[in-house]
């Protein structure tokens, strides 16, 4: 008679709360609360993210760069645990360099290849990881169109689903996409406590990658109060 596998108890950071000299948030895991999004246009894709990383209630980094390059024209937007997403991104970057350096010779790797590598890592270790990742890029000739032209993610994304549904139309050009992304991120950052700081944008197209930062006081304003 086999014994059922024991449930692994989650006992992470609750252990020693009696040591009051060291405050609680020092023992919290670093998480990118986050709002991330990606919008496709004809000729490329615009990606954006906020810049706040929190440990509990303290902001550990207010100028985080959550748009991580995986390859020359492939980026990933990270949300979830900072350590987990940084580690996965490093592993996928390594694999993609080996993959496109050794196996695929002259062509740049497909965005789908990067996405599948992410999926493999995230699924295999799904019990241990906390990660939500958007993969976006410009990757040569693709056999399959990307499923959705718009994707949002992170804790702040819940506040902008309505905005995206009403304001996104197919056929936007690059500048309209940038405006839409900046506006959506500003709205999410206004309402979500775990998102904030500056807005980081990147445009990925055949010509290359263009990065931009919109500082706090330059964000589009929506309410007068």
């Amino acid at each position: 008679m086999a014994a059922p596998a024991a449930m692994i108890p989650y006992f992470g950071q609750q252990m020693s709360s009696k040591n009051d000299l060291v405050p609680d948030w020092t023992r919290q895991e670093v998480s990118t609360g986050t709002t991330i999004m990606a919008v496709e246009y004809d000729g490329g894709v615009v990606i954006g993210a906020d810049s706040r990383t929190t440990t509990g209630a303290y902001i550990a980094n207010r100028v985080t760069d959550k748009l991580t390059p995986i390859h020359d024209r492939i980026f990933c937007c990270r949300s979830g645990s900072a350590a987990d997403t940084q580690a996965i991104a490093d592993v996928v970057t390594y694999h993609l360099n080996v993959h496109s350096g050794v196996i695929e010779l002259d062509e740049p790797p497909l965005v789908e290849t990067a996405a599948n590598l992410f999926r493999a890592s995230c699924y295999r270790y799904r019990e241990e990881l906390t990660a939500g990742i958007l993969v976006a890029g410009w990757g040569g000739v693709s056999f399959k169109k990307i499923l959705n032209p718009v994707a949002v993610g992170g804790s702040g994304s819940t506040y902008i689903y309505g905005f995206m549904d009403s304001n996104y139309k197919p056929g936007l050009n690059k500048d309209q996409c940038l405006e839409l992304t900046a506006a959506a991120l500003s709205l999410a950052m206004e309402r979500d406590g775990s998102s904030g700081g500056v807005v980081r944008l990147a445009t990925i197209s055949e010509e290359g990658v263009e990065r931009r930062v919109i500082l706090g006081n330059q964000l589009p304003k929506f309410s007068s109060h």
Binding site: Q14, M15, N19, L21, E29, T55, A60, A83
Partner: protein, 254 residues
Amino acid sequence: MATLAVTRPPFGGFSFENCKRYANAVIEGEVNKVGCSLPAARKTGTTICGVIFKDGVVLGADTRATEGMVVADKNCSKIHYISPNIYCCGAGTAADTEMTTQIISSNLELHSLSTGRLPRVATANRMLKQMLFRYQGYIGAALVLGGVDCNGPHLYSIYPHGSTDKLPYVTMGSGSLAAMAVFEDRYKPDMEEEDAKRLVRDAIAAGIFNDLGSGSNIDLCVITKSKVDYIRPHDEVNKKGISFSDSQHVASTC
């Protein structure tokens, strides 16, 4: 009769069985039932920080190590050597920061001999984050890593779970909020060495006077391309026999 034991095929990765056993012992109070108490790990309550200035990087730390509510060491050294051009401040469990920095220092020396070059700060950062991630946060080491290499001065903060941030100024430890308040007020890019040292000294002092887990002296380490100044102590703000209310730090109400 078949045996009852079902052997699980071993899969890779570190086994955290003993960590679970320890946690269960603490949570269920099994240890207290027997009449013992588990030894509290010595933690460096700590304020550590670092700042990048024009020619390099300045690292600072307090010198108090606590064991629960008692000061275990009044003058411990929290700025650890990694390589001739890279130093690392450590907060969290004292043993973890000490051993982690020693292991990476040793590996980095071998790496440096193999490449024939002075090690880069990014290499040390990679090694530290990969090791800490592998142990999933059980190694309680929060580090401020700073140094100067062929690409200029660099400063990283490294958290116990293995995430890192590359920034111009960082603070860690229980006194980090007090120190960060000083930095956010007075940091400017491209400072001179003396201004940077004064800023770091004031940040650590803010941690020492406003956080119970930090105290005693202020240690500094100034790293530039040409030299390393390991100043221990830089400032003795808590001399024995001098009462706090007598010193000029307190505004009197009478």
